[in-house]
């Protein structure tokens, strides 16, 4: 009896040997892991410091202030070989962002068209889109980049025989030449007017939909928006005395002088990245639209909503919920694949970093810069898309 009471009183966890206590075991495993990791890191750091000392390479980011001494094919900011390594990396950073942003826009547009095309009731269009998807997503993107690069170089004419397009645009195997805008004094006001126009348009659109909700009357949107976004900057432009001139490319004997130039590297990289990613986006779009139950579009039909409107107001908003998460990872893939630029010499972050790495031997610092950049961009893109996804997600009661 006393023993039983003793047992009842002892309501703590049953006494087991500490050897079998999961918490103690877990703690032990974690300590062992941390110790092993610290040991490995210590060995690596010692070896690396040793190797660097022998190769006479100082560590740290001080080398970034040195003179670069190499030229870059394309740069949106001022750069010459006399600038520092840091400046060269900035150029690469901007070039990566440029190709990523333009590529994402182009890939989304093409992917959307192809994805909807695959669902078309038109047999020929559906087949063509299927062939496109199966062709592009089964070939390595690097190969596609080389393919476009070689095609651009071989098929487009030499400088002497440039294809002249209207508006002083020339195309040849050194890229696309187009007039370079020179912003005079007072052009800032035009840019400000443009931004103001956009803000006012958004406010107007909100007011219109609020009024429609309240009264059922719909005020005009498109003319007002056009007037605000196009008209307002134009008026400011003329008031300021037209502060915009163009530096037009002119054909010389061996080269085109003046104007701006987009190199064949950028064109082929952009084409390859966006067409490759578009194949994946098309599949995502198709899966998204097919994921919306058929009853939804039938109900819309029954209510007398026109097919185009039904697609825009009923099917697409629901499909977006399915589309956005995988679309985010495709965007991230495109950003990461833009590093393939190094293969054809487009001056992106990896290409510039690779050159610096070869010149200075500061491999650890360069790899660290790359990793920080790409991880940050990935995180920011995921954060934005998660926010967008949360905004779009089904609000359940």
């Amino acid at each position: 009896m006393a023993m039983m009471q003793d047992k009842l009183a002892d309501s703590r966890a049953p006494a087991v040997s500490p050897l079998y206590d999961p918490r103690i075991r877990g703690l032990f495993y974690q300590i062992v892991t941390v110790l092993a990791l610290v040991g490995i890191v210590f060995v690596i750091v010692t070896n690396t410091a040793d190797n660097l000392r022998r190769a006479n390479i100082s560590s740290g980011f001080g080398f970034l202030q040195g003179r670069a001494g190499f030229d870059l094919g394309q740069s949106l900011i001022e750069y010459s070989s006399d600038h520092t390594y840091l400046r060269a990396l900035e150029v690469g950073f901007i070039n990566t962002l440029l190709v990523a942003v333009v590529g994402i826009a182009l890939a989304t547009a093409v992917g959307l068209v192809i994805g909807i095309g695959r669902l078309s009731s038109n047999w020929l269009i559906a087949r063509l889109c299927t062939v496109y998807v199966e062709l592009f997503r089964n070939i390595p993107p690097l190969l596609v980049i080389f393919f476009w690069y070689v095609t651009v170089i071989n098929i487009l004419p030499q400088v002497r025989a440039s294809i002249a397009l209207p508006l002083d645009i020339f195309i040849n195997n050194r890229g696309v030449y187009f007039p370079k805008p020179i912003f005079g004094e007072g052009f800032d006001f035009v840019a400000i007017a443009f931004v103001v126009g956009i803000v006012l348009s958004i406010m107007h659109a909100r007011w219109v939909s609020a009024r429609q909700m309240a009264t059922g009357k719909r005020a005009p949107v498109l003319p007002v928006v056009l007037a605000l976004i196009v008209g307002l900057p134009l008026v400011v432009y003329f008031i300021q005395g037209m502060p915009l001139t163009f530096d037009v490319p002119t054909a010389g004997k061996f080269n085109l002088t003046g104007g701006s130039n987009i190199g064949p590297e950028f064109v082929s990289l952009l084409l390859a990245l966006s067409l490759y990613t578009a194949a994946f986006i098309a599949e995502i779009v198709r899966a998204g639209i097919r994921g919306v139950p058929k009853g939804q579009s039938e109900a819309a039909n029954a209510l007398g909503v026109r097919p185009g409107l039904a697609m825009r107001l009923i099917v697409i908003p629901q499909a977006l919920r399915i589309i956005i998460p995988p679309l985010t990872s495709q965007y991230l893939n495109l950003i990461k694949n833009s590093s393939l630029a190094v293969a054809i010499g487009y001056a992106d972050l990896v290409a510039v970093g690779g050159t610096i790495l070869n010149q200075t031997g500061h491999s650890i610092e360069i790899v660290a810069i790359w990793m920080v950049f790409y991880v940050t961009v990935s995180l920011l893109t995921s954060l934005f898309m998660n926010w967008f996804n949360a905004k779009m997600a089904l609000v359940e009661r």
Partner: protein, 384 residues
């Protein structure tokens, strides 16, 4: 009251023919190509596009192509120092034919090329039964393919023992290297991916944090930076005097990268296994590893086989990136051959790329078809 004789038909009438507008070729055309004005416009545009695109491509690939020849003269126009008429352009298959052996084996010694061929044959013999769902003994088969085969393959390819001459990895190349890298990638990434996925779902905070950090870091950066890291930083990490083979560095890079992606695929499978399965295993008194090995993993892996194949397709395509760190995989060796003065001409590079693209496409398309087949095969209709 008059008798009413009800009429009752005694024989069935043949069904009426569907209107000609709705059936047969015309009906099909009306429904599928010319349903509306917009549809008709689209169809005509698509037809025009095909007519503009297909004949020139066909002509370039086959009609104008040169199939035989010993050097660049057959693939260059007179103005370029060749024998073809001016304005000619066509595929130079003669060059692919001349280089075919290199595209497959790299610069592996001529008289030893039976060794990679034998390895390839062995690989196919071991892989085929693993891919066919009906063949039994999958466990032993996988063991043979992923444990025994790599050892035999390494001995055969490297040599240096059993009287086989030693062939250094710098001489390996072509499709052989592409396949080796992707095979090692998948063979290493499967176990490591499983461990990382388990670590990420572990209740031990330190282990979980380490796994999450590793997976997200590697998945956040492009493969090319991981490869650069493996090729320039790995030698720095080793004690002085140690060298590490260039192929091995690429293998390390690809394996690290693939493991992180595989971990996420497998985590998806682990999450899809119902909680009752974990609890059931716990209540039977199974240890953690018994639970995972006997109850959870078999279900999780089965759920994500299509995902694993898709990861593998991605990895197969990504192996082409090793050409950037100057390794001669299929794409690397094709690119290297562009600068060969014997064959250099405006059409050789394009022909080489078309060839490499076709090889990659055949492999990837085959795998994606297989993935689709497995998805249908494994779909037993019990999905919730």
């Amino acid at each position: 009251m008059a008798m009413v004789t009800p009429f009752m038909r005694t024989d069935m009438l043949e069904p009426e023919q569907a209107p000609r507008q709705e059936s047969g070729v015309i009906g099909w055309l009306r429904h599928n190509l010319f349903g509306s004005i917009f549809d008709s416009v689209l169809t005509i545009l698509a037809l025009l596009f095909l007519i503009a695109l297909l004949p020139p491509i066909f002509e370039w690939l086959f009609v104008n192509a040169t199939w035989r020849g010993a050097d660049r003269s057959v693939c260059a126009t007179v103005a370029q120092g060749g024998t073809q008429p001016d304005g000619w352009s066509g595929a130079c298959w003669a060059y692919v034919g001349d280089y075919f052996q290199q595209f497959m084996y790299g610069t592996y010694p001529m008289d030893q090329r039976w060794r990679p061929s034998l390895v390839a044959a062995l690989f196919v013999i071991l892989l085929a039964p693993l891919l066919i769902p009906k063949v039994p003994h999958k466990g032993w088969n996988a063991l043979a393919l992923f444990v025994v085969f790599p050892i035999i393959a390494a001995i055969l390819l490297l040599g240096g023992v059993f009287g086989l001459p030693f062939v250094e990895t710098a001489m390996w190349g072509g499709l052989m290297v592409t396949l080796i890298i992707s095979f090692v990638g998948i063979a290493v990434s499967l176990p490591f991916g499983i461990l990382l996925a388990l670590g990420r779902r572990s209740k031990m905070p330190v282990i979980k944090m380490l796994c999450v950090a590793f997976i997200e870091l590697i998945r956040g950066v492009p493969l090319i930076t991981v490869l650069f890291m493996a090729s320039v930083m790995l030698p720095l990490f080793l004690p002085a005097g140690w060298t590490i083979d260039k192929l091995l560095r690429a293998l390390v890079g690809v394996s690290i990268f693939a493991s992180a992606y595989m971990a996420e695929v497998i985590r998806g499978g682990l999450q899809a296994v119902p909680k009752g399965q974990y609890e059931g295993a716990d209540s039977l008194g199974l240890s953690y590893w018994q639970k995972m090995r006997l109850v959870v993993m078999p279900q999780a892996i089965k759920l994500v086989i299509p995902g694993i194949v898709n990861t593998f397709i991605g990895m197969f395509k990504d192996t082409s990136l090793v050409s950037i760190i100057s390794m001669y995989d299929l794409l690397g060796i094709v690119k290297k051959s562009f600068s060969d003065p014997t064959w250099v001409s405006p059409v050789t590079s394009l022909t080489g790329l078309v060839f490499a693209g076709t090889v990659f496409w055949l492999f990837c398309f085959g795998m994606s078809r297989y993935s689709g087949f497995m998805e249908r095969h494994l779909d037993t209709g019990h999905k919730r």
